[in-house]
Symmetry: C2
Subunit: 320 residues, 2 copies
């Protein structure tokens, strides 16, 4: 998952020199942050350091991070008229620092490890654009969706093309796998997911797949929407921790690549519990293709030794 070094002292040291957004905006620093979990933990891929909201920033929304309170976006998009305020987006101009960071990483790694890119999915970006922050219920977003479904689809369509542009720019810079993060789409009723979030995500996936690079679709909360999420057509299904990989495997079959799904809070547990729970997740997946991961982003205050124990456990007990 993204920003995977943020619990490390080395990351906090970097942060004394750069604000969070400066890190995102500075290719050299972003590349340095991206490498921390690789150097210190020995993970098998390098996720570029960035944030899903840089797309909205590049579309003209004022983005800031209030320490401990999450992102703030100025002048939220609350109506169809507001959509006109979003600027034309060119991924290599508005967010050129992100492919630039990937190019630096590819150069530095020289083929030893793959570089992974990501972007926010259209519905999740819409949530932030409409609320202006992380919300508890996403009531304003859903209110927009219910009150003006045509306008809301227009917003989703703008954001879908932006997300696809950004992923393709990362692929052109050398990313070998990309992930589309739909953090809030799991909170929709399934028919609203099908009517709004799904077609927008499927549009991104379709555009990305034309490049030949595989894409992971991660919805936080796949339980109750598994078949719909699979119908988005991604190459890999990202799975949150609230459902067992055994149940997912039973539904999607032995050949579908899955990513996930240990509860991020498990990293607060004693090492022997972490090891035991890693083995449970591996066993629940069975022998099908599996990218071991947490079921959502790593939390900023987990002990580094525990993250290291997780990586070691996966390397010890995971199939190769």
């Amino acid at each position: 998952m993204r920003q995977a070094g943020r619990y490390m002292p080395e990351y906090r040291a970097l942060r004394t020199r750069y604000s969070f957004l400066e890190l995102c905006h500075t290719p050299e620093a972003a590349a340095e942050a991206s490498m921390l979990p690789v150097t210190l933990l020995g993970i098998d891929g390098v996720i570029v350091f960035s944030d899903i909201l840089v797309t909205l920033e590049a579309m003209g929304m004022d983005l800031s991070f209030d320490e401990g309170k999450g992102p703030i976006l100025g002048d939220p998009i609350r109506s169809r008229a507001d959509i006109g305020r979003l600027r034309h987006y060119d991924a290599n101009v508005g967010t050129g620092y992100l492919p630039a960071a990937i190019r630096l990483l590819v150069q530095r790694l020289d083929g030893s490890l793959p570089v992974l890119g990501f972007a926010g999915a259209p519905y999740t970006l819409a949530c932030y654009a409409v609320e202006g922050k992380t919300a508890r219920h996403y009531a304003k977003t859903k209110s927009f969706m219910h009150t003006d479904p045509v306008g809301f689809r227009e917003l989703l369509h703008r954001l879908a093309d932006a997300a696809a542009d950004l992923l393709i720019a990362q692929i052109e810079a050398g990313a070998e796998l990309v992930q589309l993060f739909d953090t809030w789409a799991g909170d929709l009723m399934p028919d609203e997911f099908r009517a709004f979030a799904l077609p927008a995500a499927a549009h991104v996936i379709e555009r990305v797949q034309k490049t030949g690079t595989p894409i992971v679709y991660f919805v936080n909360g796949v339980g109750g929407k598994l078949h719909d999420i699979q119908s988005a057509g991604a190459d890999v299904l990202g799975v949150d921790w609230r459902i067992g990989l055994d149940a997912v495997r039973a539904e999607v079959g032995p050949g579908m690549p899955l990513q996930g799904n240990l509860d991020p809070c498990t990293l607060y547990a004693p090492v022997e519990v972490i090891e035991s729970r890693v083995r449970d997740v591996l066993a629940q997946n069975g022998t099908g293709p599996h990218i071991f991961n947490l079921g959502h982003g790593i939390l900023p205050d987990v002990p580094v030794a525990n993250a290291k124990a997780l990586v070691n456990a996966v390397k010890t007990w995971g199939l190769r």
Copy 2:
């Protein structure tokens, strides 16, 4: 769902005379608050006005409500030793005002409508006892669970007996149906749900069913855990909005009584959208037994006219 009048001007008028906790603690006022949605909307049952946290308060935890920020519990339970601080609980003494409110309601309704009681489920009460507030990740709760599973089970057992005692006291006072609220259990990995939350909830359900009164088990987030939740043995399955009743019905069969499951945010939509979504939920349930409800608690700022439109739509299109 509980506290169902809190979006009404009449409720806010009551709140100028009583704090939230004073309302819970004063049978006459709680009965008055309980009646508001019945008088103003015409719903088919009367849910006693209370809060799931009164159990913890009666067990000696200092409870307060910080306006807009939710509940605060002093001196959280963070270890096995802390459990000893929880006082012996007698539902008719420590929370005697709650059965008293039910007796007043039964007397006033004189058989015209059923009175419904509720309590917090053991895992959800444990979350509040351990965190001391509504948390984002319940990391401290899960940390306790992983670090000292024996101690955590001891806490769950204490809270299970307290929840059962409170539900039985409400039944003895005249409640004809009770609900066990497991707001945070859906956030567990399924095997941790099976190992911790489920046996504790099943213990409550078993004790309550000995009275002959039916019980609803509501887990917020049934997707991915449906069969486990059903195995708790409740008479009615409460369903959140993130899964379709059609998918639930397909799994649990035509005879299982279901409760739910419109997204609470739908009440911000225009009336014609509310009506259409009510019909969708009714159609997804099919012809099986169904208690129409929101998929979680009503939000405090929805327009009363929209709640009224929902009740009318259910009465117009629901099967009788």
